[in-house]
Amino acid sequence: MSNLSAWRIFAALVSGLVFGLGLSLSGMLDPARVRGFLDIAGAWDPSLAFVLGERWRWRRWVISL
């Protein structure tokens, strides 16, 4: 295996790990939280909008590179 593909696989592992940590931390792994976010006619929990917004900001930053 070349160094480049080893590096790519390692980067994918780290990326997956960071994604999983982000999901855990943000509460998006909890179906009840996700439903709370979607329940705008009931007891709306807007916090997941922050997850979406923040993800967006990062990606804009990468595009600017």
Binding site: S5, W7, R8, I9, F10, A11, A12, L13, V14, S15, G16, L17, V18, F19, G20, L21, G22, L23, S24, L25, S26, G27, M28, L29, D30, P31, A32, R33, R35, L38, D39, I40, A41, G42, S47, L48, A49, F50, V51, L52, G53, E54, R55, W56, R57, W58, R59, R60, W61, V62, I63, L65
Partner: protein, 135 residues
């Protein structure tokens, strides 16, 4: 910690993750697509490594915080099976899910992703309202 702050930090991590995959591999962090190709056996080590990392996420979270992330499932199993099938079918038909369209597509201002996200958010809100009205 405050719930909003947690959501903000979690969102930062998810965005950072998508950025790493894009910079290092030039790949869109679309979980349904990666998992689908993996199950069809036509996926490189990169996709497998991403999924392994994804599954390690909650384990590392537990190691750091001392507890598993909360998961509350109130829905009955038959309904969950139907819902899962619909999600799988819809994300294939729409060429992506919350991660590919919602994280990467929206940030790239892809019209297709914007259409997908608006559609699935609106449908989800409607479904939650309908299910609440029916039960």
């Amino acid at each position: 910690m405050n719930g909003y702050l947690l959501s903000l930090s979690g969102g930062m991590l998810i965005g950072l993750s998508a950025a790493i995959l894009m910079v290092a591999n030039g790949r869109v962090a679309g979980i349904s697509g990666i998992a689908g190709r993996l199950l069809q056996g036509r996926q490189s080590g990169v996709g497998a490594a991403f999924v392994i990392g994804l599954l390690l996420g909650p384990i590392v979270y537990r190691a750091l915080s001392g507890s598993w992330p909360a998961v509350t499932i109130e829905t009955s199993t038959p309904l969950l099976v139907v819902a899962g099938l619909l999600v799988g079918f819809g994300s294939r038909m729409g060429s992506g899910c919350t991660s590919g369209h919602g994280v990467v597509g929206l940030a790239r201002l892809s019209p297709r992703s914007i259409a997908a996200v608006v559609t699935f958010l609106a449908t989800a809100v409607l479904t939650v309202w309908l299910m609440g009205a029916l039960t």
